[in-house]
Structure formats: structure tokens, C-alpha cells
Symmetry: C2
Subunit: 205 residues, 2 copies
């Protein structure tokens, strides 16, 4: 059934996801999911990242990352990503596919710059300190691990240059519930006015 | 440091992985990981699958799947996959990249056919029954979910045609330990005799 016009404003899979987040919130790892991208040489790449909430009033998913990681370079070459989010307590899986927007220091749009800043200040001081460490993925140049080095950061300082916000804008969601053995496929199309229009169908698990 | 010749027979990341499996074995979901592939239209695809052990005497990773799922079609087009395996108790992540071999009903190699059969009989009866259900991913044609339908299978019957064994042969492994803040990158090259030769280096997390 197509859900366009006014109803299209709300993605029909979002209440299911919010409910899963709530049901599994006693587990720290329930906010972790795996983000797949197209890696170098066209191979798939996959890593665990942390859910940093939805962009206010939208269904875009926020992820913080270091702009020196290879995923940022990968997303510049192919801007699509697929999240696989498995909830270990409720046995629910969300596969969320969409285009990923990179919001880094060079972002010209003031609203996006503001989003990046907001996400920076929403992070713990410990999280922020990670962006001051040596370049991720490069060989360690000393036995000293970054956790042993002492970095300091002013609580009121804005985002450092390595800090990057990724925004995944879903256009395909595959929901699987392993307890009820139900699976629903959600697909988004834009109508003539650029409004998002979601359709959903029950499919075989 | 390169580890060739005799030492090359053992992949240096395997003891780390076996240890993580052991340490987290009290959690049922510790045998689940996310497998990324290149999906249709060149977008990344990502889903949770179950670890079915290593192929005997090797470091190839076994995954059972239904050959009617889209991942099998995807692997036929691009045979590389990346596993992301996060252990929620020990805070360790393994990203395992390699070529995926599809062993289905049409497999001519008798040794591979035997592997597929062995993996079939190692599965629970409940797991085997799933392969008799309707085609995964197709629209449900009735309100009756497959879990309500009654299928039966003889315990001694060999693999059904939909049953497929995937074998991922790792050639790149990225290990991250979030407790010790250590990260090691393992890379495999084949020497002139076709022997696998692993090198490893500590990299910044």
C-alpha cells in the first residue's frame, strides 16, 4: 500500500525501529550497528558504528566518524551504504539502505554545519578526544598506544577538523522479526513534488 | 612481519578469533555476524548470518544459506564479501574480507559436495525445515506465515535443493580490541607455490 501525501512525512518503518531501540535499551551494544559501503577495489567493506540518533524531525540516521577513516573516502566514491542493525534481545533485524551525506569541516551549508556542531557537543568528552589521536588505520609509529597518550580538550571548544558527521537517508528498509517470523519490505519513491512516498509489503522471511 | 612457509599454514588472526568465540560463548548471539556483499545496482548489501564453523583444517568460514536469497545472486556477480563480527562481551571486532565460494546442488567437486552435505547434517532439524518454505524475499501469498505451515523432513535425508553452503576464504583481516585499544591489520598474499603468506602490522585504532 502506498503511503504518500501527508502520511508520507512519517516513514512507516520508523515506529518499528523506535520500538526496537526502546525494547533493547538495557543493552549498551543495542546502539551499535554495522555499516556496509563499497570499499577500495570494488570490494564490500563493513564495520561497527554507533547510532547517534535521527536528525531532528526526519528519518535520516546520524553517525559520527573520523574523516581520516577509509569509510569517508569510500563514501565519496560511492555514496550508498547499508546498515544492518540486529537487536539481540528482541531478535529483530533492520537492513537500512540509502545515500550517505558527509558533513565535514568544509561544509558550506550553515544548517548542516550546525548539525555537525550539535553532534559534536552531544558526544562525551572521551569520544571527542579520539579525534585528536593519530590517523586511524596508519601503522603505529611507537609502542605507545593512543590510549596512553594524554590529550586534552576544552569542553566548550567546537568540533575539531577530523570530526565528521554522516547522515544516511533511507530509501529501502527490510525488517525481519525472528520471533514472529515476519518480514516487511519498505521502499521509498519521491513523487513529482519531491515528497517521499513509502510503500510496504509483507515478504517471505 | 611476514609469516610464510610452514608458519603460513596457520593464519595468525585465527587464535585471536577462536579465543573471542570461546570468551563470548555464553551469549547465543556471539555466533552471529554481518556479511556485506555488493548488491544489485552496485549498492552495498548487509545482513546477519550464522557462523557454521571453519572448514576442517583451514581458515575458510562456513555459512549456510538458501540459494534463493539475493545474496547468492549477488555473490555470483561479485564474489567478495566482508564479515563484520563484533563480540559484545569482550568488545572485539573482526572485519574479515575474502572471496566467497558458493557450493550448491550443482557443485561438481565431490569434496565440496561432501562439505555441503556435512553442513546440512550439522544443522538442526528446525534449521533444515526453513529450506522447504516459500521463496525468501518474495511477497507473501497468504496470511499464513511459513512458521504456521507444516513441513516435515526425514532426519536422514540429504540436503534439499535450496540448501547452499558459502565458504569465505579470508585474505584481509582487521582486528580491533576496544578494551586494550589495539588494532592489528592482517594481509595474505600467495607465494610462488600458491602457499598463503600472512603479514601483520599494528595500526592506529
Amino acid at each position: 500500500m502506498p503511503l504518500c501525501a501527508a502520511a508520507a512525512m512519517a516513514a512507516p518503518w520508523k515506529p518499528l525501529l523506535l520500538n526496537a531501540i526502546q525494547t533493547n535499551s538495557n543493552l549498551k551494544h543495542s546502539s551499535f550497528f554495522q555499516l556496509a559501503t563499497i570499499g577500495s577495489h570494488g570490494r564490500p567493506a563493513n564495520r561497527t558504528v554507533v547510532f547517534r540518533g535521527f536528525e531532528n524531525g526526519s528519518d535520516r540516521i546520524q553517525i559520527n566518524t573520523d574523516c581520516r577513516t577509509s569509510k569517508v573516502e569510500e563514501i565519496k566514491h560511492c555514496s550508498f551504504g547499508e546498515i544492518c542493525w540486529y537487536f539481540t534481545d528482541s531478535w529483530e533485524q533492520f537492513r537500512i539502505n540509502g545515500r550517505v551525506d558527509i558533513i565535514d569541516e568544509s561544509e558550506p551549508d550553515p544548517l548542516k554545519r550546525q548539525l555537525r556542531e550539535k553532534s559534536w557537543f552531544a558526544s562525551s568528552l572521551k569520544s571527542r578526544l579520539q579525534y585528536l589521536g593519530p590517523c586511524p588505520g596508519l601503522p603505529c609509529i611507537s609502542d605507545e598506544t593512543s590510549s596512553n597518550r594524554e590529550y586534552s580538550i576544552d569542553q566548550s571548544s567546537g568540533p575539531v577538523s577530523a570530526f565528521c558527521l554522516l547522515l544516511l537517508d533511507p530509501d529501502q528498509v527490510d525488517y525481519l522479526n525472528l520471533k514472529s517470523n515476519e518480514r516487511i519490505s519498505f521502499t521509498c519513491k519521491q513523487d513529482g513534488d519531491g515528497n517521499k512516498c513509502w510503500t510496504s509489503k509483507k515478504i517471505n522471511p
